[in-house]
């Protein structure tokens, strides 16, 4: 994990979770967009909300923010029931839902100024600061309509952080950004998180990005929560995966040897060798057994646990079907 967040930060006892969703359901006609979703986001975490396209991420955010009405279920934002206490909750929440939609013929500055002033009184300095933070100072006085997709996205994030919110709800904040832009956005979010202790909830289908940034994840599929928890716990499921490189003629014998070992949980043929999943901490036994049987292993490579593997295992999305 590349997260800079101290692992103990989110575990600190917190009486009210930043977000709590219980049995949330929403239908559009005959389509169940959200189907009994439940999750709890601890205050102070950076949470990734993961799901394939159409898994119900954006709909959940719309329901959470009062843009649409749920058919069933309860929601709390910063300990306040939604949508009943919508105004109070939104005063302390920065949001970006789907693509940022600002007034096209207003400049970036004017847009932040007017929309921002609706939350609380603003100073020109603060608007300038937010624009600088997302790297839009030069374009501040150009109309929003001529911004590139990445710039629009950054203005959206600037708008969300304008009032130093306690909670940031971002829907695919790096959508349409180039790799530099993404890295920059991660830095901005990390910085806000460390400096202002902001809880960040961001939906994404970019798994490596979430793995780099988040310490907590909620994985959803077909409108349901399939898994939630701290990334470190989720990836550490007691298994480890190793890739064995060996000559093709030894392959069948190696499989026989491995199958006889109780520590081996699974064997998958891969190009130039095998992928073996094992119980934690027994890799040396495997090595010994194979060498003992005279198999010429050329390499034993640890496969780092990735969120992607977990995600694909948990959701029934075909690899490659989910492109950004």
């Amino acid at each position: 994990m590349n997260s800079t967040i101290p692992p103990d930060a989110p575990q600190a006892p917190s009486p009210t979770p930043a977000i709590r969703v219980t049995d949330l359901s929403k239908r559009f006609g005959r389509v169940r967009a959200v189907d009994g979703m439940s999750f709890t986001i601890p205050t102070g975490s950076v949470c990734g909300f993961l799901g394939s396209n159409g898994a119900g991420k954006t709909t959940t955010l719309r329901l959470l923010l009062g843009l649409a009405r749920p058919d069933e279920g309860e929601m709390e934002l910063l300990g306040r029931p939604m949508p009943a206490s919508r105004t109070e909750a939104l005063e302390r929440t920065g949001t970006l839902v789907e693509k940022p939609s600002f007034i096209e013929h207003f400049t970036g500055f004017e847009n932040l100024w007017w929309f921002g002033s609706l939350t609380a009184p603003l100073t020109r300095e603060r608007v300038g600061e937010a624009l600088e933070l997302v790297g839009l100072s030069d374009a501040a006085h150009k109309p929003f309509g001529i911004y590139s997709t990445g710039m629009k996205q950054r203005l959206g994030v600037a708008g969300a952080i304008l009032h130093h919110p306690s909670l940031l709800l971002l829907d695919e904040p790096t959508n349409g950004m180039d790799p530099q832009g993404r890295a920059q956005m991660r830095d901005i979010l990390r910085d806000i998180h460390t400096r202002e202790k902001t809880t960040i909830f961001l939906s994404s289908h970019l798994l490596d990005e979430v793995q780099r940034l988040c310490d907590y994840v909620v994985i959803v599929d077909h409108g349901r929560t399939v898994r939630q928890g701290f990334v470190s716990e989720l990836l550490n499921d007691g298994h480890e995966t190793w890739e064995l490189r060996l000559p093709a003629e030894d392959l069948s014998r190696a499989i026989e040897v491995l199958k006889a070992l109780p520590a081996v949980l699974g064997i998958n043929p891969v190009p130039r060798g095998l992928e073996v999943s094992l119980s934690h901490g027994v890799s040396h036994e495997i090595n010994q057994a194979l060498v003992g049987a005279g198999i010429r292993i050329s390499a034993l490579i640890p496969r780092e646990a990735s969120l992607e593997a977990t995600f694909l295992a948990l959701t029934d999305t075909e690899p490659g079907a989910d492109k950004s």
Partner: protein
């Protein structure tokens, strides 16, 4: 709460006025008084240089009167078309472009959004009405100074002296405010069902024109069968046409009719009732509206 409503109102007004369209709307709605003023000024300059006779002065006064009448008629007829476009832009257009979503992600209530938008649209319309009034005032000022300098007896009783009276202007504004309030309420309600301003404008105007045509047909239809008139109470446009009728306007201008006289009190209250009903329904609809784009 009040601060937020005020910011929201200013924001809405700025959005309307910041468009190039807004200036064109104001111009288009006031073509007649603007041209009348230019004509009056030209006549004034000509008189100063050449010193024309009394006949031409009264011709000028007649022209101003005729143009004033034309303006009142035109304004009453075309303002709904412009109004539909302004309301369509402000509500349907914003819903379609996602601005409404951005607005509703700030801690403003939906009721505040409806009222701020309606108030901004009304203020814009009042600017349009007042602009026409301003140019008519210029005409009158010109006519006055001509009658003084030329010592010519002008038949200015009908337009001149009374129009300049501020209480009469206030009454005219009250009538126009009430007529527009009901109209704005109607358009706000229809706009909530559309996400493109043009579509909203067409549909709402078709309904409006159908209603108005029916209102005009009712006296004749009723002669055939009384039951043909049964939908009349549901036609809010009849109050509006009664309010903006030239007879009413002239009555108020000549001070033979006051706002509390029965001829005008009924339509005034009728329009107010319709306006209240439209806004109440619009609010209920908007509260349930799901923002999905």
């Amino acid at each position: 709460m009040m601060r937020r409503l005020f910011v929201l109102f200013s924001f809405e007004l700025k959005k309307i006025l910041a468009r190039k369209k807004a200036v064109l709307f104001l111009l288009a709605l006031n073509v007649v008084p603007i041209l009348a003023s230019i004509a009056a000024m030209l006549a004034y300059l000509k008189m100063r240089s050449l010193g024309l006779g009394s006949l031409e002065y009264s011709a000028l006064v007649e022209m101003v009167q005729a143009l004033f009448t034309a303006h009142m008629k035109l304004f009453a007829w075309i303002s709904p078309f412009f109004l539909a476009l302004v309301v369509g832009d402000s509500i349907s257009g914003e819903a379609g472009r996602g601005h409404l979503k951005t607005l509703l992600l700030t801690p403003v209530s939906r009721a505040q959004v409806v009222f701020a938008k309606a108030a901004a649209i009304l203020v814009f319309l009042l600017i349009a009405v007042a602009l026409g009034g301003l140019f008519l005032q210029i005409d009158l000022w010109v006519a006055h100074s001509m009658s003084q300098s030329g010592a010519i007896i002008m038949d200015a009783r009908e337009t001149g002296a009374v129009l300049a009276d501020s209480t009469v202007m206030a009454r005219l504004l009250t009538i126009s405010f009430m007529a527009n309030l009901a109209m704005v309420g109607y358009f706000v309600l229809t706009a909530l069902f559309f996400e493109t301003p043009i579509l909203m404008a067409f549909v709402s105007l078709i309904i409006l024109m159908t209603m108005q045509t029916y209102v005009m047909m009712v006296p004749y239809l009723a002669k055939l069968d009384d039951s043909y008139a049964r939908w009349l109470p549901w036609c809010f446009t009849r109050h509006l046409s009664e309010l903006t009728e030239l007879k009413t306007i002239y009555g108020v201008l000549k001070q033979s009719m006051t706002l509390t006289s029965t001829e005008i009190w009924g339509p005034l209250m009728g329009s107010l009732g319709w306006a209240a009903a439209f806004f109440a329904v619009a609010l209920a609809v908007f509260r349930r509206r799901q923002i999905l784009s």
